[in-house]
Every structure is written in structure tokens, then in C-alpha cells.
Amino acid sequence: MSHMPKKNRWQVCKHCGKHVHELQWAPYFRCPFCHYLQRLSVPQRLKISVDPESWQPMVLPKQTSDSLQFPGYQDKLKDAKKISGESEAIEIGTAKIDNYPVALGIMDSHFMMGTLNTAVGAALKQIMQVSLTQKIPLILFVASGGARMQEGIYSLLQMNSILNEWQALLDAKTLVINVLTDPTMGGVSASFGFKADYVLAEDKAQIGFAGKQVIAQTSHEILPANFQTAEDLLTHGLVDQIVPRERLRSSLATLLKLHRGK
């Protein structure tokens, strides 16, 4: 996808700078030298997470309205669509994992850093309703820089309206699993990000509320080396487990099995 050059079969690892062949990247996109994980596109994520041929995508309930007509936003959306191949920063649908049916939401950081806007928020609320009405567990792959600034207060109000929808899942005792991937920040982290029965994180994923730069500038603190990594969150008791991407599918399958798929 975006980070896979069209012609060149070799790609520089963003983390260690070594050249890695595409066959060495696939299918988990972990650098064989430094073990850095690339951010995945939705098709890449699906390929390693769900049973083959089981993915049933759903049409997003709402397209971005751009009611504020924020300068430059239309161009950004156009670029994001081209880069990511997605219509918005999320795909929703149903699939099976080890034959257990699940409702899925997969966010794509290649689309305006997976930011939460009216369309992404509406999609999340929709997939929560699907999980509720079909009585199947909800799994969210979270990847987001936070609320999308260009839609202003309408992006902010996704936080409370999504949580409101989430309450219905809680009342119905629906199994919810969130997988926090790089990055999980801001208004996403501070709304539905951690609202799950199980919160898993991919190794080295950046997870937090305020951005590192903002914290450094505001507090004048020297940030700890591991700050806002999944590993740091595990140490502080904020996530249940760090699950390497290679084991994620089997971990999800185990959790589903332990709950008998409900």
C-alpha cells in the first residue's frame, strides 16, 4: 500500500534505515533487523487477522460533510483518499476469526493520521450497533492521532456520542476487545480507546493523550526514554497485554474461545 513502493521491491526501514526486501516485510511488516513495525493498511491488517474470505465490509453510514469549509481540507481529503485507497480513516464490517463471527472496525493511520471526524465517528457508532443487534463481539483496531481539527467541535462531540453508544454494549454485556496500534492518541485514546473488556497493544505503539512535543513544551520536563510506548503503559498498568503482531490473531481467537464467542 502506501508505504510499499509501486516498482521498487526494496524499501528503507524508517526506524533503522536498512534496506528490506518486500518478501522480508510481508505479511507482518516487521523489520527483520530492528524489529520495528510498520503501520498497516486495512487490507494488510485483515489479511493477518481474520479467516480468509470472511470479511464482509459495510458501506460507511456517512461521508464527511465539511460543514465548516475549513481552508485546505478538501485537498487534504483528496490526498488522503489517494494515499490510503480508503474513503475515510476507518473500515467497518463483519468477519470470522477461527470461525467466531465478529464485528470489526479497522482504523487507517494513512488517512489523515486516522483522525476522528464525523464520518469516522458515525462508522464507529454503526459498528457498535451491528455488534449489539447481531449479538457478536466487537473488535476495534485503533490507529489515530486524535480528533480531526478541520471539523472542529463536531469532531470533539464524537467522543461523548461514541461513548454513549458504547454504554449500550456494556449494558448488553457484549464482549469488546480493543487493539491499540501505532498511534493511539488524543481524543481517541480519551474516549473509546481504552473502553473495552480487554485492551491489547502492539509492541512499541505510541499511546497517550497529549503529544510528546506539547508535553515537553508545556511542562518543561525531560521525557523518559520509553515514554508513551505500549511497554511504558504496560509497566504503569494501563494495558492488559502487549501482543506482537505475529501472535495477535491467535490471541484474539483464544479470547473469543474463552468467551465462547459471545
Binding site: 467541535i153 467522543m159 497529549a210 520536563e221
Partner: protein, 257 residues
């Protein structure tokens, strides 16, 4: 003559701006302050407690920036820490138990940006408070005294009725952050021209239920008193389910257009 955004910003950030503590001392009798989140500490940015408002017990959550350097330091200039959200959560649960309405009053830049708050789960604390305010079985009302931005401010304002002082601001991010994006687009106009964030704009889209005029200053407390009382009066006939539904519909209606 309506004020420009930069004038509004200067006003709400001034040391002389009306604080939640001042409002509490003028309008609330027998105020009893509650400290601490019972886990990590006590956030001084948040004044929490209970008292009588027109003879009726209410719970109060007031976010203050501080009026002098010392207070600003103590109060983290109004940037509520993880301990503040957890204190608020604790206090509103008690309000629910004893069926008291909750009034929050805000003048805060947004959530705290520090290693401490991050490492102790500020994200979850904010999410918990947003959720709990939305599901509250008693009426809740917010008065924006100054500004309030990001999820940090939303945590205190996911309520039945929102009131704003005439120059107050509420936005997804600080006007400076919005301005920075605009600058990248070579736009030099006010951030608020593109993004509703003033009381007047937010009333226009149906988020804000009432604007309280700031002049004449002499009778400001009386207008705040009347505004809060009227907001609570309109909610007193609603039962727990109706209150939840009213909140849900208020925000859903706004997002559907």
C-alpha cells in the same frame, strides 16, 4: 459591538476574570469542599464540593486557572490533571447517590500535558468522566466562565444544559492550535471565522442553550444566578431515563445536520 477572538482570549485568560470560586462564594451557601481522588492526590485546579443553591443541595465542579502566579502554579493554570478527573468522577457518583444536580463551571485551557498525568492514565480518566456525565441520573449543567478546549473540557460539559458567558470559548483545540493549521494554509483570518468556538456561534448550532451577558458587570452574579436556576428548573421534572435521553438527543441532533 461584538469582540474579536483575540480580545475574547485576552479577557478569559486575564487574572481578573471571574472564577468558579468567586461564583461559588457568591451564590452557594454552606459550601463544603471535597478533596482528593483517593488514589493519587488532590488536583487544586478543580474545586469540588456541595452546598445550597436557592435552598437546594447541589454538587459543584469548578475549574480555576488561578488569579496570581502562585495560584496559577498550584492550579496548573486550569489544566486539570488525571487526579482532577478522578476527583470529579468520585464527586458526581455521590451526587447521584443523594440525588443532587451537578453544576460545573469552567475556565481551562484543556487537559494537563505532563508525564505524571500520562503515566497515570489521564486518557481513561477523561473517558470515564465523559461517560459518567452522559449517563448521570441527576441533572447536570455547565457554565463556561472562560474557555474550555479538547476532551478535558468535554469531560465536564457532557451535560443536559450548557450556558456560556458572552465572551467564553469552547473548541476542539485551543485557538492557537487552530490558528497554526490555518497558517500552514496561508490564511491569516481569525480561527473562529472557520470554526464555531464563541458562545454566539455555538448557540447558533444548538450546542449552547443560553448566553449570559457580561455587562453591566455590577449585576453579573444576578444574571448567572438566574441562568443556572432557570436551567435546573427546566430539568427538574425529568426522571433519570429522560435526563439521559435529553443529553443523548441534544448531541445527536447537533451531529445529524
Amino acid at each position: 459591538m461584538p469582540k474579536k477572538l483575540e480580545e475574547k482570549i485576552a479577557l478569559v485568560r486575564s487574572a481578573k476574570r471571574l472564577s468558579a470560586q468567586q461564583v461559588i462564594s457568591q451564590l452557594i451557601t454552606d459550601f463544603f469542599e471535597i478533596h482528593g481522588d483517593r488514589q493519587l492526590g488532590d488536583d487544586r485546579a478543580l474545586t469540588a464540593g456541595l452546598g445550597f443553591f436557592h435552598g437546594r443541595p447541589v454538587t459543584l465542579l469548578g475549574v480555576n486557572r488561578g488569579a496570581n502566579i502562585q495560584q496559577r502554579q498550584e492550579m496548573n493554570a486550569g489544566a486539570v490533571r488525571v487526579t482532577g478527573y478522578r476527583k470529579a468522577l468520585r464527586v458526581i457518583k455521590t451526587a447521584e447517590k443523594f440525588k443532587r444536580p451537578v453544576i460545573s463551571m469552567l475556565n481551562m485551557p484543556g487537559a494537563d500535558a505532563s508525564v505524571f498525568s500520562e503515566q497515570h492514565g489521564q486518557s481513561q480518566a477523561i473517558a470515564d468522566l465523559i461517560l459518567a456525565m452522559g449517563q448521570l441520573t441527576v441533572p447536570n449543567v455547565t457554565l463556561f466562565l472562560g474557555e474550555g478546549h479538547s476532551g478535558g473540557a468535554l469531560a465536564f460539559s457532557n451535560v443536559n444544559k450548557i450556558l456560556m458567558l458572552e465572551n467564553a470559548l469552547f473548541s476542539v483545540a485551543s485557538p492557537e492550535a487552530v490558528q497554526a493549521i490555518l497558517k500552514n494554509q496561508n490564511q491569516t483570518r481569525d480561527a473562529s471565522e472557520y470554526m464555531p468556538m464563541t458562545a454566539q456561534q455555538l448557540a447558533g448550532i444548538g450546542l449552547v442553550d443560553g448566553i449570559i451577558a457580561e455587562t453591566p458587570a455590577k449585576t453579573l452574579y444576578e444574571r448567572i444566578d438566574a441562568g443556572l436556576l432557570a436551567a435546573l428548573k427546566r430539568l427538574e421534572s425529568l426522571d433519570a431515563d429522560a435526563l439521559k435521553r435529553q443529553r443523548q438527543q441534544k448531541f445527536a441532533r447537533l451531529l445529524s445536520c
